[in-house]
Subunit: 353 residues, 2 copies
């Protein structure tokens, strides 16, 4: 069993992006980490990059299952059986089906669910980085596990400098269906609806469409796994979205129905946390026309810094047919006018207040 | 009639953001511009900021109708009747209903539809800027107008340094339904589906949800007008999206259905033009952990510039509970590793390759 506060001997099953990244991160903090993968090549690669050693005679105190979501339930059950004294966690992005698979085992008190929420979709151990999860949420679903098991998993998340969030597995799955899985599906559906358009039609796209469809370029196989495992919550969310869209179709006054939907959407968007956990701050955009030659962005930020205005966010919109881009600096409302004035004095063309 | 190449005497009906911005832009290029608004206060404001003079005795050669979309058809018909020798255009974001209203008039050959595509939704003459449309697409729908009328409207768009695109009105409406109106509605539906979640659940949101729902904070009234006018094309697009979502609900294998939808979406996303009209270039992301203190972004770009790597795009992701943000620099694939290495040498924490 894990001594609270001390690094447990850790074994990772699965040497893809997630498993290898966790291995690299823990090893760099001095943990004793071993790693294995069903594919000899992936295992050799993970060892070569220093994500974990070959297992020795000592039994692990903590096992981290980092296999594809569809395989996770069985691999977790097998791990609980194979290592009779270890805490077992997994990193799949759907948690209730794994908790359900474990529930019947007599070893269920040694299983804790994890979901380290990496923000990007790349795969393979070659892409691994020890700080992949740094500053990201790491959800822990205790599922009735005993306190020492939960503490061991929490120590992993804290060691990797994650933002630890404890949730019930079912609540986690319902939440990620709405904040992650359904938005992915909806973005793909909006993109797929471009199908009938000519290239000239698509060229009318502005930043709005680019934002909505950015995640539509994700890995289909991984999302197929996730959708299968989280089917009930995902379909409840999609039905919610279909219902709202059907209400538009059936409305006597489409305008009123659109107004109602947009107003409900605005209320929810305001709840999405911005910087440091508060609701999204209202920054004021200052949009500048930037010639497409190297170094302009740096020159722009240098000029902004000389006025002492902190740039909170940047969005860059490329113009489809012209050698310029529109770069928007988001700043505190009280500083926007001053910034626009100062930039104009430095020969920047300001596009909108 | 307009002498090709010479600036026509121009009268603007409607002194909101669009009308006043066009007036400012044309006047700064030396055009003779008059402006009126049904609201005396808006008219006085537009005159005060220099968006147009009071109409005199000379009849205008070109009339630009810049009233809310719902009012545009009648105001255009009235303008064709009121000024018997003028070319008339309008700037509404839906074009076929206005063309249909004009079609019955004997003056139809003097009407040309316009859609200057401003990228942001702010309203009122106070927000006007002469270069609001610079580097944006300006769609012209000739609708069978005679050549001189089309040339006069094209001259406006070119004078405002827009990217002129000529389209059929029906094709325009079908296209904007898919690239603009339906994405707006879908973003609101995704946001509205967050309704059942607690604040802690919503805090699991990553950059994907933020991107998809960014435009959900738009002005409900304007979108109600647009939806009413473009109902057939908007509903055809929404039915396309509903159909794709229902296919997921009805699928024997949800995973296969999701894979199919994501693959179709990827094909379409690749068609959205990136910089300079080509398909989106594949840039490689270099993600850096940036402490939330002023000046860090500038320091980061300065360090990137010292290696001579041009930053093509930037995305900034704020961490909900920690005093750091993740800033991603998008660069040419061949330069990404070199940039990451150089930044690491300058003590930046690189989060992912």
């Amino acid at each position: 069993m894990t001594i609270p506060g001390a690094a447990p001997r850790t074994h990772i099953v699965g040497a893809g992006l997630i498993g290898a990244s966790i291995g690299l991160g823990l090893k760099s903090e001095g943990w004793h980490v071993t790693i294995e993968d069903a594919h000899a090549e992936a295992e050799a690669l993970a060892r070569a990059i220093g994500a974990g050693d070959a297992p020795g005679d000592d039994e692990p105190e903590l096992v981290i299952v980092a296999v594809p979501p569809a395989a996770a339930p069985q691999v977790v059950v097998d791990a609980l059986d194979r290592w009779q004294h270890a805490t077992v966690t997994d990193v799949a992005s759907v948690k209730a089906p794994i908790a359900a698979a474990v529930e019947a085992c007599e070893n269920a008190v040694r299983y804790v669910g994890s979901h380290p929420m990496a923000g990007r979709e790349i795969s393979g151990g070659l892409a691994a980085q020890g700080d992949l999860f740094k500053a990201r949420p790491w959800v822990i679903c205790p599922n009735g596990a005993h306190g020492e098991a939960v503490a061991a998993v929490r120590l992993v998340a804290e060691t990797l400098q994650c933002d630890v969030v404890t949730m019930d597995a079912a609540a986690h799955d319902a939440a990620v269906a709405r904040v992650s899985h359904a938005p992915q599906v909806a973005a793909s559906a909006v993109a797929a609806a471009l199908g009938p358009l000519s290239a000239e039609d698509v060229a009318l796209a502005g930043q709005g469409l680019r934002d909505v469809t950015r995640i539509a370029a994700s890995d289909p196989e991984m999302w197929a796994d996730i959708a299968r495992l989280n089917r009930p919550s995902l379909m409840a969310t999609i039905d919610h979205i279909i219902g709202d869209l059907e209400d538009l179709r059936d409305a006597d006054d489409l305008g009123e129905a659109v107004t109602d939907l947009i107003e409900r959407g605005r209320v929810e968007v305001a709840r999405i946390p911005g910087k440091h956990g508060g609701a999204t701050r209202e920054w004021t955009p200052v949009t500048v026309i930037v010639p497409d030659v190297p170094g302009q962005l740096l020159r722009l930020l240098t000029d902004a810094a000389q006025v002492g205005v902190n740039v909170e966010d940047i969005t860059i919109e490329h113009s489809p047919r012209q050698p310029v881009g529109l770069t928007t600096l988001h700043v505190l409302p009280a500083r926007a006018q001053e910034l626009a004035h100062a930039l104009a004095e430095n020969d920047w063309e300001i596009a909108a207040p």
